[in-house]
Symmetry: C2
Subunit: 460 residues, 2 copies
């Protein structure tokens, strides 16, 4: 970068700061009444800061971690006497859009998986998932929770244990892909198990939430809630698989453009999220089910995007080899056309969820040695619980699978947020959970990289 | 469609209705406290209904009209004693997203135009735009307003006149494109003039809003506001043109993916919208300016989308003719890559604005003969005002240009919404304005089609 540009950049940043301060003045004047325009500014700033936090990738870390950390930074500026960010922390529209962001994220993860994929990953993935859910849950709820945080309610320990169950699919996949081993046996087991433990985790969330809402419940209630959750997921899959093609064929008679296809996708996602909420599950469970159900084949009656139709026309009369190669590329892309359509909405709303979650962390909680020790202790349990699950990986490299399952992320944070909303998770536990997510997310990539490199060396 | 499918469809609709009623019960129970999940349901239903209203296109009408009409229908169900929809009318998140929708729409219109395009359309387009703004504004404010609606404040007449100024670019372009005459001289003049009269209209909106906010103002104040508006637009264009490439180059060093490109686009749109609001202009003026400023050349440092990069790789070694043709198709598409990136967000939020606007119309206002006669009278003035502008079209067909300028749409509705927010536009005037938009939108396509067909016949 030339010196001139550096000056220009500083100028822009001074400008942005000025803008921020002017805005703050306007807020002070209007005493709490936030206008739509001020929300526009916050959305823009949070989005830009989330993207700038991507600089952390240069240090070999994942973007999610950057977004959480920038959120923690923004949310704790008040400790330095800067209360500029406080209006954003209580802005209802931002809170809604952040929640919608995680609904969209689980919908995207659902779209990337299919019921068939989940059947294919088979026995080892299922075993790894089960061990990786049961061990950290039991250890968190019955051992380390009561030991490090004595005197809390059983419900609080339940939530703590539940947050340790789900591996973060995004982070795991990103590390394997960065190291170009996405198609190894270990990677396939970890990815399959991560999807399964998300589902198991979401069932646990439903069970735990119900226990919290209705007081201590017996084995029959837990069985009923598990049954209800499985019934919803199965029902959503079966009914969705029947309804989706009918709705899509019917609406394709109105219009076959991309706008209609997109609207059907979003409407499915939102209606399933609402249905899940209606029967007492988390909205994200519904969004994930909606994503799992929807498939390109349901949208056969829709016209292709202009670009793809145009290229097909152009290559129609060209030499057969080129035509075949180009056509294969187009077809591969078409297989992901639903994800491509939802992606921009995800770009808009998903980072908001992570930044906003980071903003809810209260750093002053860590000023106490107890909390700090607790966070470190629970992080150790989180690691050990998932390393044990590697033992169930059969013939695959147990260390790679174990470390691959270690990072916690979005689902754990959703548990924390849900628990906070239910009044079970205190500021202290919330901050401990976010610390566990940050530490597992931060430590896994370098360790996993080292483990994979060593395994490759041993094979040679 | 087979009978079996019809049954399936009815089943689904009964299901949707059940879902709606169950939801309504839940609302009644929670007495006004709307949860995020209920907002998900409303967003899904409004989006689906907006898309189903696209059926109106089968009758040769435009989709915008369908969205308005379905909104009017939903918003007036209370007249039949059905108050299911009332919670959606007062839902703050939906109101915010609808407002964000029109910001995105004007950003999209801005992205489609460029300062160079606007210079190219030249003298006739500018003259048509000026006449088409001045005549309906003067006729609305000083003649037909005071005559048909005596006894209102001058500010109310000003707003009524202002809403008649701006042609709806979307509707006009759609009709020309449906008739495949998008590249005729008449079409180019109309499209150019429609963009210019949007800008003129937005300046009028700024002036009129300022007059309303600060009481009756003199010629010097109007000149100052006009100057401020032009200065903002020019300043936004000049500063934006300098800042955009620097920001984009700087952030491309963090990441060159689509997510970063998208975030820069949205952040520019939102920050410019906030800046416009800060200096007293409508946020949409800022969003339009942001769209006008941003151009593909500002994003040269970003990587191409996967599909396009893959196809370029596949055709690299194929025969030169095919490669050239495919490459041309890709390059043409790349010219619109910013629009393509924003489109899904537009699909999500823009229909919300139109449905939500329709929902604010109170049909009972039209139960009075006075209002009905007023709406018809003002519609006649709206048509005549734009037909006169056709006389400034030089050598082009004056009737085609005149009728092409006739439809009113989004900008007129924005005026009505702004006026309502300022307390100047009463429920009665608001409903009259929406009626004018609906009538000009409804009547123009068939008349314009007939005029163009006659002109084609005469030429032969």
């Amino acid at each position: 970068m030339m010196p001139g540009n550096k000056f220009a950049c500083s100028g822009i940043f001074v400008g942005l700061l000025l803008v921020l301060f002017t805005g703050a003045d306007a807020w002070a004047a209007s005493a709490g009444a936030v206008t739509a325009a001020e929300t526009y500014l916050w959305l823009a700033l949070l989005l830009l800061l989330a993207k700038i936090s991507g600089l952390i990738e240069k240090l070999g870390q994942t973007a999610v971690l950057g977004e959480l950390l920038i959120g923690v930074l923004l949310g704790n500026l008040y400790l330095l006497g800067i209360d500029l960010v406080e209006p954003a922390k209580t802005n209802e529209v931002i809170a809604f859009l952040a929640e919608l962001g995680v609904v969209i994220l689980l919908f995207q993860i659902g779209l990337e998986s299919s019921p068939a994929d989940m059947r294919k990953v088979g026995v080892p993935a299922f075993l790894v998932a089960c061990v990786g859910v049961v061990v950290p849950f039991a250890a968190g709820t019955y051992l380390v929770g009561p030991w490090l945080l004595p005197g809390l309610s059983n419900n609080a320990y339940l939530f703590l244990g539940a947050t340790l169950t789900a591996t973060s699919v995004g982070i795991t996949a990103r590390v394997f892909s960065d190291l170009d081993v996405l198609h190894s046996r270990e990677a396939r087991i970890v990815l399959g198990a991560a999807v399964i433990d998300d589902v198991l985790g979401l069932i646990i969330l439903a069970v735990v939430s119900a226990i919290v809402k209705t007081g201590e419940v017996g084995a029959i209630d837990i069985a009923w809630i598990t049954f209800k959750s499985l019934l919803f997921l199965l029902g959503a899959l079966v009914a969705g698989n029947r309804i989706a093609p009918v709705i899509s064929r019917w609406l394709s008679k109105v219009h076959t453009g991309t706008g209609m296809k997109f609207s059907i996708l979003i409407a499915f996602c939102l209606i399933f999220a609402w249905l899940a909420d209606l029967i007492g599950l988390a909205p994200i469970v519904g969004a994930f089910a909606a994503g799992l159900v929807l498939d390109e084949v349901h949208f056969r009656d829709f016209s292709e995007p202009d670009l793809i139709a145009n290229i097909r026309r152009v290559i129609a009369n060209s030499d057969p080899d080129t035509a075949r190669n180009v056509r294969q590329t187009l077809d591969r892309h078409e297989k992901h056309s639903l994800q491509v359509l939802i992606e921009p909405v995800g770009h808009f709303l998903v980072p908001l969820f992570f930044v906003y979650t980071g903003m809810q962390v209260k750093l002053d909680v860590f000023f106490s040695a107890t909390t700090l020790v607790t966070a470190l202790g629970i992080t150790v349990v989180a690691f050990v619980g998932k390393l044990v699950s590697g033992l169930a990986a059969g013939t695959a490299d147990k260390w790679i699978v174990g470390w691959g399952m270690a990072p916690r992320g979005e689902v754990g944070l959703i548990f924390a947020v849900t628990g906070k909303a239910l009044g079970v998770v205190s500021d202290q536990i919330f901050s401990v959970i976010v610390a566990v997510v940050i530490l597992t997310t931060l430590l896994t990539p370098p360790i996993l990289t080292a483990v994979i490199r060593r395994a490759e060396k041993n094979r040679k």
